[in-house]
Amino acid sequence: MNPAHVTRVYAQWFRVRLRSTISWTLGLAAIVAVTAAFYPSLEGVFDDVEEGGGLSSLLGLSGDIDPSSPLGFIWTNLYANVVPWVLMAFGIALGGAAIAGDEERGTLEYLLSKPVRRGEVLVARFAGMISILAIAAVVSGVALLASAPLFDLTTAMTATAPDGSTTTNPGIDAGNVAAGTFAALAVGVGTGSTAFLLGAVLGRHGLAVGIASGFAIAGYILYTLSNVTGSLDALTWISPWRWYVEDAMFINGLDWDVALPFVLAAVCLAVGWWSFLRRDLR
């Protein structure tokens, strides 16, 4: 493997994808900032949400998360759903484009007529996918950190129960944002890697994106319906939502479950490598 070739192929793909990277990144940052801006006006909206039900699992509510607190609000409205979904969608777009997209357009074949190895292209594109996702995730985290003080999200909130007891919920800090952003990025990397693997094995962009999207949606449906019905619980281990929502790393901090998508990504890279180096280009 020639590191100079990997670097050049990586940089060239980065340049090619710059425009779409900016669009996705600014879009996600805008969603984060706009959602944060709603916090002061949504007090009391979540009072009727029943804990443990289907709606609460859709919102990512579990344990003692208070959706009207700063942490609970951002978790239920952004990090339990929108941020990982956007990063998953972006990951699928990048993973599908990395090998299969270029292969179908005929651009990959010309690149491989030059003195680069297939493995070098594979590694460069995989690294490109992860770093572009990381940029989108980090910028969204920075957008939250920048907008949180403007909308009282960094201020601790004291709630008084009917019996007169009080509970103090802390405001958002950089640790919450870093942990939540990293966990959401991990989900995006895992899902993008499945699209990458399918593209490397099949060489078909539509199939890679379609199957990876199907897995992502099926995993979400499986997890939420299982929470509602209580059945098929054993199968929910294949869904990233199980550990992602239950661990709520945005609130509780990182734990080792966050490594699971990266292990999946490493397996996808290894299997994709094995297949891509052996098969015919389309």
Binding site: V16, G106, L112
Partner: protein, 297 residues
């Protein structure tokens, strides 16, 4: 290195479709070999196997004494695909710098010279260029590194006559510098001025191999005799060296296609009182069609 390209029993099969069938060719170093065939005959599939984009079902292919997938070999090869596609908004200049940097440091003087020769504006995104201008980009990319071996798939497709001439000159220069050229085409006249040898591929099989000298001999074998009146073509049929007699032209003319000595035809024409004689150069494409008809039989 004796052979720049060498294939043995090269075969590519997808299910029941045999795209290339038991192809064995040798292209000498410094030679220009034209691979001719109709659309879908297996020319591009062969090129893709030479560069390891697709793997043979059977047989072997060697390029510059190595494997087409070896980066050290590819660094010595210039490739022009049938249809050049470059990613996103890549401009021609960016493409030259990027692809050039993968092989070596791009030679700016060489690059500027090629851009000037082909009259290309390198600042525009390649995907916005016309077919002909994209072809120019592909040719510059193929030639800019002064490769030892050029693999060119339909190189003049989309180029106007002036640029075709420029391409032929460029090819002749590289050949004079010792490069080997392997090109595909379905237009015989296109390769006439550049090729040393021609391989005819039909339905994936190598039907014929001829030198250009063999081909040129076949283009000059038509003689038209003018007589004082209508003459029976049967007088020429079956004569030594006569392949075909055609009375379909002017009423007082007979066109005799030769495949050997003209002595018997000339003698008979003289005996029948021919008043004029002229030779006609057959179109190379006619020869191409005839050869394919022969290979079909």
């Amino acid at each position: 290195m004796r052979h720049a390209i060498e294939t043995h029993g090269l075969t590519k099969q997808w299910g029941d479709l045999v795209a290339v069938d038991d192809l064995s060719i040798r292209v000498e170093a410094g030679e220009c070999y034209a691979f001719l065939g109709r659309n879908g005959s297996g020319k591009s599939t062969t090129a893709r196997m030479l560069l390891d984009f697709i793997r043979p079902t059977r047989g072997t292919a060697r390029v510059l004494d190595g494997a087409g997938g070896d980066p050290n070999i590819r660094a010595r090869v210039g490739y022009l695909p049938g249809d050049l596609n470059l990613a996103g908004n890549t401009t021609a200049h960016e493409a030259f710098m990027f692809f050039g940097s993968l092989a070596a440091t791009p030679d700016r003087r060489r690059l500027d010279d090629l851009i000037e020769r082909f009259g290309l504006d390198p600042t525009r995104p390649v995907r916005e260029l016309s077919t002909g201008n994209r072809r120019k980009v592909g040719l510059i990319l193929a030639f800019m590194g002064r490769p030892e071996l050029l693999i060119l798939d339909e190189p003049t497709s989309g180029l106007d006559p002036v640029l075709q001439e420029e391409f032929r000159e460029l090819l002749a220069e590289r050949k004079a510098e010792g490069a080997t050229i392997w090109l595909t085409s379905h237009v015989m006249a296109e390769v006439e001025r550049v090729a040393d040898r021609v391989g005819l591929i039909r339905d994936g099989r190598l039907a014929r191999e001829l030198t250009m000298a063999d081909l040129r001999r076949q283009t000059t074998g038509r003689v038209v005799f003018t007589f004082a009146g209508r003459t029976d073509p049967a007088a020429f049929e079956g004569l030594p060296g006569v392949q075909e007699v055609d009375a379909g032209g002017e009423a007082d003319e007979l066109t005799v296609t030769l495949n050997g000595s003209a002595a018997a035809a000339l003698s008979t024409a003289g005996r029948l009182g021919a008043t004029a004689v002229r030779t006609e150069r057959r179109d190379l494409d006619d020869v191409f069609l005839d050869l394919f008809e022969e290979s079909r039989r």
